[in-house]
């Protein structure tokens, strides 16, 4: 069977395909690696933008990168206390 597979060039089960999969996942993680400092400044900026529109519960904010085998997501849990109606005070931001 192995001989036939090689003969017909269907080498997809070789270690090359495995290397490609592993490489892709390694790079997803490498490219989304974020330092705590950068995450902190991201958190601050998100909060300052959101605060233009709503009052949020600063103590309960959770922002992090959620990693699994194949993908990385930015997951944010930001409790909202009250939406600001009427004129938004842009200058305050």
């Amino acid at each position: 069977m192995d001989f036939l597979r090689k003969l017909f060039g269907g080498g997809n089960d070789g270690s090359g395909a495995k290397a490609k999969d592993r490489l892709r996942i390694v790079l997803i993680h490498d490219r989304t690696d974020i330092s705590p400092e950068l995450l902190d400044s991201l958190r601050e900026e998100i909060v300052s933008v959101l605060s233009k529109y709503m009052e949020i519960d600063n103590d309960k904010i959770e922002i992090d990168l959620d990693r699994d085998e194949k993908a990385v997501a930015l997951v944010a849990n930001i409790p909202v206390l009250r939406i600001k109606r009427g004129n938004v005070d842009y200058d305050k931001v």
Partner: protein, 271 residues
């Protein structure tokens, strides 16, 4: 026109930066360009040996930077190919002996006299890389078809992009076409898929590289091996010529078995 300054870099060590620098420099000179290969690997100099010019080194570029000698005194002229020069590194100094600003000034001083300045970069992402890259406009990133090398190439590409280098192009070195055919090696397209960067050439694994190093003669001077042709093609592409990728498989025919395989596959990869 002032010289194009190109840094040859990789992230991971030992993947073929120095080999690539020497061969591309010699090839460009063969095409009639005036070229200087700068060994930016301070403390671990190798380019002089790969180019076979180690006996002619008197001064190095640190001497130039520190004004111990003039630039023209430090340049080693290759007598085999007109227009080819080496600017050696210091062997007994460390990378801290230079800073990025000094590298930029050195390149500026070289620019009016050359068509191409190739900077052979040390491995890593630290000072040595940053020095070499500082002086460059363009970059060639060398990788082998293995996960660690490609991963480090990705890191370096990101850094080169944020430094504003352009174009940044990839050399895949030490590819073994028969292993790719058997599905046991990352293929050219696999690597390009994940890195999303332009390819400038694929260099096969080739014993000629070792012979050339033993002889102190870049392969592109004699052109008797597959890797030599690959490097010559890369030089042509640097010059803006549209050279088709080599058919590497024909170089590694493995007799009857590969002949049958070809019959069934009728597909040749281009490099």
């Amino acid at each position: 026109m002032p010289a194009r300054v190109i840094v040859v870099t990789s992230g991971k060590g030992g993947v073929g930066k120095t080999t690539s620098t020497a061969n591309i420099a010699a090839a460009l000179a063969k095409f009639g360009k005036k070229v200087v290969a700068v060994d930016a690997d301070v403390g671990l100099r190798n380019l002089d040996v790969i180019m076979g010019l180690e006996n002619r080194v008197v001064f190095n570029f640190i001497d130039v930077i520190e004004k111990t000698c003039k630039l023209s005194q430090a340049l080693v002229k290759d007598k085999r190919v007109p227009g080819l020069y080496l600017l050696p590194a210091a062997q007994t100094r460390t990378k801290d002996a230079v800073n990025p600003q000094q590298m930029i000034e050195l390149c500026e001083e070289l620019k009016p006299d050359f068509d191409f300045i190739l900077l052979d970069c040390p491995a890593g992402i630290e000072g040595g890389f940053k020095n070499a890259a500082a002086g460059a406009d363009e970059a060639l990133v060398v990788t082998t078809p293995e996960i660690p090398a490609v991963r480090d190439a990705d890191r370096i590409i990101g850094m080169l992009e944020s430094m504003g280098k352009s174009p940044i192009r990839l050399i895949i070195n030490r590819l073994r076409p028969n292993m790719v055919q058997d599905g046991d090696m990352l293929a050219k397209d696999d690597i390009l898929d994940v890195l999303s960067i332009d390819l400038i050439g694929v260099v096969p694994e080739d014993e000629g590289v070792i012979r050339a190093t033993n002889n102190g003669e870049p392969m592109t001077m004699t052109l008797d091996s597959p890797a030599a042709h690959a490097y010559l093609n890369i030089a042509e592409r640097l010059l803006g010529n549209d050279v088709p990728l080599m058919d590497l498989e024909s170089y590694t025919s493995r007799g009857f078995f590969s002949w049958i395989k070809k019959l069934f596959k009728r597909r040749t990869r281009q490099y």
